[in-house]
Structures are given as C-alpha cells and as structure tokens.
C-alpha cells in the first residue's frame, strides 16, 4: 500500500482506477480518461493533487534564500501572486519545477511528489547562511478545479471571502481565508483554481463538487490536458540533466537582475544547441516518450507524447537540435512517420492554438 490522500475513499467510491504513482495510491481515471479530459475542456472537472508537496519558507532571510535558490526571481511576484520557477543544481540542471506563492509573512512552495525527498534535502542544504525556516505541511490537501465552468460551479458552493476569491481572482493571483489558499492557477490550459486546504475540508468540498456535477478526473486526463497545454512534466520534459533553456523554460529564468542564483553560471556558459518543440502527427498512430525524432539537423527525442483528445491526433513535446523547423520524422516501431514541428501550446481554452 502506498501513501493515501485524505480523498482515497472518495476515489474508490467514485470508481477510481487506483494505481501506484510515486508511492501514492492515486486514481488514473474513473472509467474514461477521454470523458474526463473533455469534461475539463468543455465544463468542469476536479483533480485530487494532494500528493504534491507543500513547503513553507519563512523567516527574515526567506526572500534572499529564495532569490539564491530559484532561477526565477520571487521579487517578480507581488503579494498575493504566484510565480512558476525551476530549482537548479550547480550545473543548471532542473532539480524540480515549482510554484511559489508570495504571502504577507512567508512564501509557500508547491513541489512535485516524486521529487519530494531530494527537494526537501536540497532545500535544507541550501539554508546555510540564511535566517530561514523550511517547513513541510503534509497535513494540507490540494484540489484543482479546472474547466470553463469550474469557477462558477465552485463559487456557487462557497460563501464570503472564499466565494469572492474564486469569482474575482486574476490569473496567477491567490487569496487566503482561514487555512484555505485559493489560487487561480492550474495545469490544464483551462480556467480554474487550485485550492490548498486541510484534509477534512477537502473531503467535504469534494462531496459538494460531486453533488454539483463536477467530474472527478484522474492522473491520466491530467497528463493529456497538460500536454495539450504545452506544459512540462518533471521527469519527462526536464530533469537534472536538462537546463531550463533546453526545456522551453527560458521565460522562467530571471537573468537581468544580477542575482547569483544556483546554476546561473552554468546557464550563462551553456552553448547548447537543443530546443523543446511541439510535434503533431497527422497520420494514424501515437507519439510516445523516447521515440527518435529524425530531422535535417540531426536526431532528437520525444520527451512526452500522447493522443490529443481535443485535436483528435497525436501530439508530443520533443527535444531537437536548435533551429529545426517545418517537418521531421518520428520512428515508431521501425517505421518513420512525418510530423509537423509547431510551437506549443497545442490547445488553450478548448481551441487549437499551436503555431507553425
């Protein structure tokens, strides 16, 4: 038996197909991944993401610590805003990607679950010289309610400040009420919020959402949705051997403020000719991670691939030599199939948006 979130019984009751995910018993789907995917693109779905790791960074040195630790600059996030960043090793490789919430008295980090132990070890190791406390918050659960109707359906279930937050928050902003943190963030390319809250509250809110007809969605749909949205998955599209510059995350690296963040020197020295691109397979078949991409400038590799339920074709993220554009071929079971090279995201708000 793996770790279980406070919602484990609810998943089983909803027909969740439970699988092992980085030592957590998590639902991969509740009957049909495709139906869940479409529910989020067209209406509203809820994901239990309580397996993710919540860590609070507090103390007088918190700001300086995070400006040293992260490739993005926490000063770019005003109070009440969230920031996406990579956490790098000295070689510029991505230890993890995370979201930082800038609160009045501290910073809240949400990191991945599969990387929890090495992240916590790294966070602890880097505290030297900073007056800072790093505190994991394992008692907190997290729900992602996503889809064009997600906020209105959710707001109808809430009162007061929580309702107001869900209704009126700007993108990447968050608000807190009691021990709830409500953020207009997500991993699907749709509107919606992520709520960090106590486990018992998560169970109650889940029940209300079910009653309101919000579809429970598993890790399977989470992956197809995030890939359509062109969002990286840690361990697939980046890891410690890949820098954010190679992983399509240059926009998250804040160079122009003179900060000496970990990995900066390695990034500045990097003359690496690779880039992350999107691929679209217009023939029948499914692109998968690790398939070889054959281009006029040399080989690349698919880092994430799937069938896109929204577009009805297979899509992928791939690392290829710099400057490659137009078309390429992907080797699938000893056959080479032509693919179009595009710029992700593939889908936003239910519509195809990729660019050639």
């Amino acid at each position: 038996m793996g770790h279980r979130t406070p919602l484990y019984d609810q998943h089983v009751a909803a027909g969740g197909r439970m699988v092992d995910f980085a030592d957590w018993d998590m639902p991969v789907h509740y009957g049909s991944l495709l139906d869940e995917h479409h529910a989020v693109r067209q209406d509203a779905g809820v994901f239990d993401v309580s397996h993710m790791t919540v860590v609070d960074v507090s103390g007088p040195g918190a700001r300086d610590y995070l400006r040293h630790l992260l490739a993005n600059d926490v000063d770019k996030a005003p109070l009440g805003k969230a920031l996406y960043s990579a956490m790098l090793n000295e070689e510029g490789g991505v230890i993890d990607d995370l979201i930082v919430y800038r609160r009045p008295d501290d910073y809240r980090l949400v990191v991945n679950c599969g990387t929890r132990e090495k992240d916590l070890a790294w966070l602890a190791k880097q505290t030297g010289g900073f007056d800072v406390a790093v505190t994991e918050q394992p008692q907190l659960a997290m729900l992602a309610v996503q889809g064009p109707q997600a906020r209105s359906r959710l707001a109808a279930l809430l009162d007061g400040a929580r309702r107001e937050a869900v209704s009126s928050l700007k993108v990447f902003a968050f608000a807190e009420d009691g021990d709830w943190l409500i953020a207009r963030t997500g991993y699907t390319g749709e509107d919606g919020v992520e709520i960090i809250l106590p486990g018992a509250d998560a169970v109650a809110l889940w029940a209300q959402l079910m009653q309101a007809g919000v579809r429970p969605c598993g890790l399977g749909a989470r992956d197809t949705l995030r890939l359509e949205a062109g969002m990286n998955l840690y361990g697939n599209d980046m890891d410690e051997t890949v820098t954010p510059l190679q992983a399509g995350m240059a926009w998250t690296v804040a160079f122009n403020d003179g900060r000496e963040f970990i990995g900066r020197a390695a990034l500045e020295a990097q003359q690496d000719p690779e880039q992350l691109v999107g691929l679209i397979l217009e023939e029948k078949g499914v692109l998968r991670a690790h398939q070889r991409v054959v281009t006029h400038a040399g080989d690349g590799e698919i880092t994430s691939g799937t069938f896109s339920p929204t577009l009805g074709v297979s899509i992928a993220l791939a690392r290829v030599p710099a400057g490659v554009a137009g078309t390429a071929e992907v080797e699938i079971r000893n056959k080479r199939l032509p693919v179009r090279i595009v710029r992700p995201p593939f889908v936003r708000h239910g519509k195809a948006v990729y660019q050639q």
């Binding site: 495709l34 992956d223 029948k284 078949g285 069938f307 297979s314």
Partner: protein, 130 residues
C-alpha cells in the same frame, strides 16, 4: 467483473479466438484487456494475406496512455482485418467480443486451439493476476 465468454478460447496474452464453421477464426482482445487498457485511440492490424505463427506479433492496440502488442493466438493466414477500427478504435472498448474483433485467421492447425485457455482457465489466470 470482466466478461469472459464460455464459447471462446483465450491466449495468456489476453487475445480471444472464436472458430467458425469454415475453418477460420475471429481474434480480438478480452473484455479484461480492453478495460485494463482504457480508451483505445489507435489499432494497428496485420496485413491480409500475412502468414503468422502462434505467438507472433500481429499488431498493436494503443490507448491514450500506452501501447500493447497483440499476438497471434494460433498459426495461419490472415484472411480479413476489421477495417472499421481504423476510424473507430473505440469499438474494441464498446464490444470486444463483437464489433471490436481485430482480425480473422485461417487456422492452420486446430490442435493449437485446444492448447489455448478455456474460459475457466482464463478466469483463473485473471484471478491470480489480481
């Protein structure tokens, strides 16, 4: 609970076989297999006319999440493939023992059919996998 049909034979790799009066047999994947795969989005079938030996790779079924090889449960020549699956692979999910059949094979040696699992044997295999 998976649907296991008493009149069919099964391979340990989850294909089913149904022998017809004319000496050909339909091949598909079991209800258990389609359910475990989830929503199928692509099916790659053998060529009509292809000669296969039992346990040869005969095709691939791909769900959103994964690809699984299909093996020939018996030896013989492929005499037909289910072309409807090209555009509607979900037929395998909806009707694995009917409209979701994969291909039809002229059975070279009916003894091979006897060596496949009976419905009871197959159910036992699934129980032991749980």
């Amino acid at each position: 609970m998976s649907d296991i049909r008493a009149e069919l034979r099964y391979a340990s790799t989850h294909e089913w076989v149904r022998l017809e009066d004319d000496g050909t047999a339909y091949v598909g994947i079991s209800d258990h297999a389609q359910d475990a795969m989830g929503d199928l989005v692509y099916v790659e079938l053998p060529e009509v006319g292809q000669e296969m030996k039992a346990t040869d790779e005969a095709g691939v079924v791909e769900s959103v999440k994964a690809a699984s090889d299909i093996y020939a449960p018996v030896s013989g020549e492929v005499v037909a493939v289910n072309e409807a699956l090209e555009d509607t692979p979900e037929l395998v999910n909806q009707d694995p023992y009917g409209d979701g059949w994969l291909f039809r094979i002229r059975v070279a040696d009916t003894d091979e059919l006897e060596q496949l699992l009976s419905a009871d044997d197959y159910r036992e295999q699934l129980d032991s996998e749980d």
